[in-house]
Symmetry: C2
């Protein structure tokens, strides 16, 4: 099936918003075995919309349309589709009822202009929109499929996830379902050698990607139904876990933050951090973990020598404060003591670059009841947080 | 002039990247008096690129193309344009020399494949790309303009700012130049009444916008040249400053952060902050201000009662620690004392919502040599930082 995406809205052509809907849809099509050839944006202008629609209808099997489903006169997506197909828009009693109830829940009368959001054409069925007042249309005619969805990204996402995705899966000859295993402690090449036989297989396929939070192994199974694909993934997962063992720290949407939050909570341990060069990023990271109240005791942003001393870093260490492992250890110990936490975590950085290390250096200190240690890592800005989290995770895991 | 934008790259159609280039260009065209009617994305496929190009050449006066200018075989934007126009690509000696020098600066030999980035066609002149190896083409033929630019957004931005913008301004019958005045202490309606006569004028036009950091007044002057427009803006600015006076805290790209950084530096005053609910955001904000080393003494993230006590908030205040103005004042005083700063700034929040206030409340404490004060504000997540910065700014300004 060859697909086409059309995003409708004058605000896109004025550069006021970026069309993220096209990417949202595009990124999901490969998993449905649908090839995307054309994407275009057009303003809220009926003549130009119809021109684009006619071309799409002639050259594509499936057409995705977002935007222009609002209640006002400038929203003409429905009218344009009806005219292109030579069909008449009629008010659907059920849609009207649903819409009136929606307004009623907010204690409002439905404005007359919203009535056009309750219209439908003969070749269309309605796509519910639980997140807004504009339902979509699912049109099947002359062997083509045309799907309209609301423009606000939040509404599009809900409509896609609750209806469009599964209806497309029913139509698809095959679905491709991915599962990503996140690992640490290997290079891309090293991980590749371990799973060499799986890399050579054609279904499920295995891809290897280097990311800020380690090497990702992405297994993707192609099958007639989602259930079959998931079964293949489950079998593949057994094999991958045999090979990679404890090196797998997470799957799919799991992040280092959520994993570490879980570890700290299970171990009933608390954490305090002190940082300078990272400027509060580390504290924010822990603070943002859901449930961090239970384990995160606080963060110390110690940009100045004065602040370091005030937080209990020994004065001689601060005075001789070239960033290094010594300072990182002292900061970690001070954070632990100052905030009475089980684990103190600290980071300081150096901008000094060398031919070997063009990024500067990040020093990471970790203190616990058994003492403190520190490591240095080349600083790559987007990797700093992941590097620190990995060190912390290793400490937590080594505590058994 | 009617314009069209074509973004080229298979990675766009696979949903791997969002096409932000189209928005970048689209948002600049209104200021050049250019109307944008069509935007489309197409993969690195010569047949489909030529189809899109032909349509654009027939219906649009000016065509902007980004992407597909790389050295590899899959980049076929140049080849497609040459074929569409029936022209032959030839290597330009000067472009080749520039390219070889570029590689030489990195101690590298130029790979043969890069040679095609030194090609040009008879109807094109070259657009320099100081940020990469792919120069653009500026084509004028049959009364049409076609401009190719590199796809990486950083390169596109440089090429646009250094060459394309000014060449388009020369072509434009008029330019529209905006200048934004950022104000505080007024409602949108209140500000509107003060500048009512300017709102009614047709050139320059004045627009009023409510933003997180206050009311913005955007003056936009239309003239034959940029110089004339700037002169009109200068005259308009005199008038706006007469009316709004000290309520204008910044112009165009100035942010509250840079203004406050400037105030603190000029007054040679230092700052320390303590926060809980905002989770390090406030400390990060100050830490990120260029030159903050000089005035920012450090941040205390005090999520827990224990941390508040450790930072010197009096124990009875912490024990009775319903977030409120009392706690905010005590936190501000403690931050000031603990880090020996001239000004202590603190924020704490409450999630309690009422019918009047569905957002919860942010409490802001400010302590200086003369004492401390605190205010409460409805919490709207994206406005919290701006609200706090305004309070700080007011304090700084009141110090004369």
């Amino acid at each position: 099936m060859n697909a086409e995406i059309i995003s409708i809205g004058t605000e896109i052509l004025l550069g006021e918003i970026t069309d993220t809907n096209a990417q949202y849809i595009a990124s999901r099509l490969p998993f449905l075995g649908i090839d995307l050839y054309w994407v275009s944006q057009v303003g809220d202008n009926k003549t130009r919309i119809i021109e684009v629609l006619k071309r799409a209808w002639n050259r594509s099997d499936i057409i995705f349309i977002t935007g222009g489903l609002g209640p006002t006169a400038d929203d003409v997506t429905r009218e344009s589709i009806a005219e292109m197909l030579g069909e008449e828009m009629k008010i659907d009693m059920n849609l009207e009822k649903t819409l009136r109830e929606r307004f009623g829940r907010y204690g409002m009368e439905m404005p007359l202009s919203n009535l056009k959001q309750a219209t439908i054409i003969p070749s269309a069925s309605s796509i519910p929109n639980p997140a807004g007042t504009a339902p979509g249309w699912w049109i099947e005619k002359d062997g083509k499929i045309l799907i309209t969805m609301p423009g606000p990204p939040r509404e599009l996402n809900v409509v896609w996830q609750e209806t469009v995705q599964s209806r497309l899966e029913e139509k698809a000859e095959s679905v491709l379902v991915p599962r990503t295993f996140k690992t640490f402690g290997h290079s891309e090449g090293g991980a590749g050698e371990m799973v060499a036989d799986m890399l050579a297989a054609s279904n499920p396929t295995l891809g290897i990607y280097a990311r800020a939070d380690g090497i990702h192994l992405r297994l993707a199974a192609k099958a007639k139904t989602r259930e079959e694909a998931v079964k293949m993934l489950d079998e593949g997962e057994v094999r991958i876990r045999e090979i990679m063992g404890e090196r797998i720290w997470g799957v799919d949407n799991e992040t280092l933050e959520t994993i570490i939050g879980g570890l700290l909570t299970r171990k009933a341990m608390t954490l305090a951090v002190m940082e300078d060069a990272s400027g509060g990023t580390l504290a924010s990271t822990f603070n943002d973990i859901p449930g961090s109240d239970a384990f995160f005791k606080g963060g110390l942003l110690a940009s100045s020598d004065h602040a370091k001393r005030a937080f209990g870093v020994p004065s001689p260490v601060v005075t001789d404060s070239t960033p290094g492992t010594g300072l990182a250890k002292a900061m970690a110990e001070a954070a632990r003591n100052f905030l009475d936490a089980d684990i103190g975590l600290a980071t300081t950085g150096s901008d000094d670059v060398t031919a070997d290390n063009p990024f500067g250096t990040t020093f990471i200190g970790i203190a616990d009841a058994s003492g403190s240690r520190a490591v240095s890592r080349p600083r790559r800005r987007q990797y700093v947080t992941a590097t620190i989290l990995f060190e912390l995770q290793e400490t937590l895991l080594s505590m058994g």
